[in-house]
Structure formats: C-alpha cells, structure tokens
Amino acid sequence: MCGIAGLYTKTSTLQQQLGLQLSRMLAQLSDRGPDSAGVAFYRQGAPAGSCKVSLHSAAASPDWAELGAELERVFGAPAPHQPRGSHATFVIGAEPEDAQAWLSAEHPELTLMSAGRSIEIYKEAGSPLQFVRRFALHELEGSHALGHTRMATESRVTTDHSHPFSTGLDLCLVHNGSLSNHNLLRRSLIREGIHFRTDCDSEVAAGYLTWRLREGASLEEALEGCLEDLDGFYTFAVGTADGFAVLRDPIACKPAVMAETDAWVAIASEYRAIAVLPGAEEADTWEPEPGHVYSWGMAAVP
C-alpha cells in the first residue's frame, strides 16, 4: 500500500497555498504510507539559459553556500540556492545536461533528485507528518505538485527508494502498487543505457518512461506502453512542467479518485485526501477508468 496525491491549481490564490494544501493531503494519506514520503513541486521556473536542480546530501550539515559559490565560479552566473531539509535546490547558469554532468563528476557524494526548469523534488525516509514539517512544505507556492507516502513491500526503506522518481527533465513519477517483471525489465533498460540507483520496482517504471520518452514517444504513448510492458499493479501519477497525467493498471487493482473544481484538479489514492481541499464538497468527483490515460495541462510536454 502507498498513497498518491496530486494537485493542479487554476487560481493564483490556490497557487499561493499549494504547499499547504498538498501537506494536508499527505497527512490524510500517511496511514497508507508511514515509512517514507516525497513531493515534486513545479514552481519558479529558472530563466532561459539556466536550469534548476534539487540535490540531497547525506551529510549532517552540508555546506550548500560553498557549493553555490563553486557553481557561480564554474558557470559564471549567480547560483541562488534554497536549503530545505536534507536537500537544497539551486538555479545554475547552464543547460541542465551540462549541470548534471558537472555535478555527477565533481560531487558524487550528492544525489541529484531532479533537474529541469521548474521541478523541485524533496523526499526522505521517515513518517510523512515529520517530512511535511521538516521540509516546511507549507511555505511552497507553485503551479502544481505531486506527493507520495510509501509503505515498502519489495525493497528497502531509504531516501533513495522513496518517491517521486525523476524520469527526465521536469518529469517525475509516483507509484502505488507493485510490479512483478521489474527485474527483467531493469536488465533490458540497463542495456539501453538507463541508469538505476536502487532495486525498487517503481524506479523501473520511471526508467521505462525515461527510455520511451528518449526514443521519441509522447508522454501519452509512453504511458500506454506501460499497459503492454509492465506486469503488475499500479496507479501512476506523472508530473510534467505543465501538469500531470494519471494511469491505472487494466484491472484497477489500486485505488484512485479524481476531483475538479474551478480552482483545482486533484488526484488521490483515497477521497479523504481530497475532502480536505477547499470546495471539495462541490467538486466534480470520479474514479478514473482502468487502462486510460488522464492528463491536465500537458500541452507543452516535450
């Protein structure tokens, strides 16, 4: 069991409250996933010619300011950073591919959680309620966000095993369910050059999407490919720069509820996580059909 939450805002008022509302949703889903939690926020897009990365450090008190100064020396532009829990997000004066290559070469001790123009990923092992507080999620505004609470069923409980998983620039995946052909699929994806950090089945789904998108599939095509190539149970929510998409396995083994008002679109594993949103009682509420890709605000997906 795990919990998924996603919130897409349509008004500036709700954009200001994005972190607060997503935190409230995650609190409702903490029973479904008490061992780890994570979020992806889409906010404050980096200016043209620069990119944004979220980094995790296992050090007790990482020197983020020093890293910022180093990035400024190397890339020649100010590198403002925002520490948040065990993570920090930097805006780097370089294309994301160049920034990622430099970081993995020069700072292998840091884990790159996300890269892109607007995505920020924060995740950690531990109770969702503590996570929400430690990372002060209520401070975060933004256009949309995904969240996940994890109850591990097939691999270890660590920050690396937590969701969301980055699936490419400004892309991420959260998963509720379990995949049974992930070892086979991981081996074939490794041959395609996809890199994995953990033995977690959900990371294979993320890697699969990365591979399909790299090979030129649209996000919708890549998700539809899951119906053929993934064996197991899943409700997926995929975040993009402009919105999110939702897919349930063909027999709808894992739950999902969606709801929409004039102010927001939400997805959650259970309705009680939507009930806490303003105006939920009047929302148009439905259960997504199995095997069908739902998406919001995806016009500019690469």
Binding site: I251, E270, R272
Partner: protein, 236 residues
C-alpha cells in the same frame, strides 16, 4: 424517506471520531426501538457505520470512505454522496442507499438486504455475492458479479468487461450494453418469473420509468463449477 427533525441524533464526524460514532450505533440491538441518526462531515472517512445490528435509520451527509455500512444488519442507511471501496460489504440485512456513485467491490460478499446505488458502481460490484440484492441506476465496471453465488444484481446502465466471470447461481439483469461476458457467464431467457422478480426489485429500489422487458438476463452456464442439477435443492 427523509428524517424528520424530531428525535434525530446528530453526530458530527468533523469533531467526533469514527470509533465514537460506531460505538454509539453499536448500542442498538435487534429489539431496540427504531431510532434516527444524522451523520455530518464524513469527509471520506473509512468504516463509517459498520457492524450495525439494530433497526436504525441513518443518513450520512457527504462522501464516505471504505467499507461504509459493512456487515450491516437491520439498519437502513442513506449516503448523500459517494461511497468508497466496499460499501455494504458483507451486509446481512437492511438497506443501504448511495445517492452518488460507489467505488470498487460495492456489496462484496453481501448475504442479504438491499444495496441501491443512484450513480455508477465501479469494478467488482457484487463480487462473491451471497444472497443480497443490488440495484445500480447507472453503470457498473469490469468483473461485476465475479464468482457471485446467489442474490440478484440489477444494472440500469451498462456493464463493463467480464460480467459474471466464474458465476455461480446469482442472477444478473442489465438494461444497457454489456462490454463482455466473463468465463461461464451467458445470456439467458427472460421468463415470466424473471420479469416478476425484476419488477419487484425495481419497485423495492424505487426505480421509476424502467420496464422489465427492456432488460436482459445473465447467469451461469454451469460448465465451470462442479454443479449437478440433481443436487439443485441443496444449493439454496
């Protein structure tokens, strides 16, 4: 059957807990005098009003989570909203009415009583049904009536794929389109006794404007399970 203002006990789930509500309702027993309850602010909470065994009338103002009215006996519940997974699961008697839609496994394993859903029911509605009746005004999802043993399921809208898969002796009536029949489920002749029982069920579920003649009946081909017609009397 709206509750009158008088003698209604209101319980606010916005401030009280599900456990307190259920303990209040469990105070009743089969011989208790009828009583009325109004539950407000359910907020999608799970296990609301489960395990009742008293002739109570309960209205719930809003959406409920999983297993609402599970194991119900005698009580008459109305949900003024949607219901999550497993509404009226293992109901024994009484009536549960959902004004909105219901999630998966509505009425699963229910032995008796009547479940009425005004909206749609999603996958696995009436899975392993053991004698209750289910009337869905809208449509039902895939695997409806999976391994249903006895009881009746009436669908005024459409049915999803694999209807009645591995069916035993439950009877299914569908007015709309059936996307696909499951293993060992076949369409059967609508005889006079079926028209009569369907008319009675539609009446009990207060369905208006639906004619039994517009429905098709589905049941088990009796090829999959070890059924002997000589033992028919033993199957109940």
């Amino acid at each position: 059957m709206a509750l009158t203002e008088e003698a209604v006990v209101t319980f606010d789930l916005g401030s009280g807990t599900v456990r307190d509500l259920n303990q209040l309702l469990h105070g009743g027993h089969p011989d208790s005098p009828p009583a009325r309850f109004l539950v407000t602010n359910p907020g999608g909470k799970h296990a609301v009003a489960v395990g009742l065994n008293a002739p109570y009338e309960i209205e719930i103002e809003g959406h409920v989570g999983y297993y609402c009215a599970g194991m119900n006996q005698l009580a008459n519940l109305r949900v003024r909203g949607n219901a999550g997974v497993g509404v009226a699961e293992n109901m024994m008697s009484g009536k549960v009415l959902v004004e909105g839609s219901a999630s998966q496994s509505a009425g699963a394993t229910a032995h008796g009583g009547l479940l009425v859903i005004h909206g749609d029911a999603s996958a696995r509605c009436g899975i392993s049904l053991k004698g209750a009746d289910i009337v869905v005004h809208g449509s039902v999802g895939h695997m409806t009536a999976f391994m249903a043993q006895t009881g009746r399921i009436v669908v005024l809208g459409d049915a999803g794929d694999s209807l009645g898969d591995s069916l035993y002796e439950a009877r299914i009536y569908v007015r709309g389109a059936v996307k696909g029949l499951g293993a060992d489920c076949v369409e059967k002749e609508m005889r006079d006794e079926h028209l009569a029982e369907l008319r009675e069920l539609l009446g009990r579920a207060s369905v208006e404007g639906a004619e039994p003649d517009d429905f098709r009946r589905y049941g088990s081909a009796r090829q999959l399970y070890n059924f002997h017609v000589d033992n028919l009397g033993s199957y109940g």
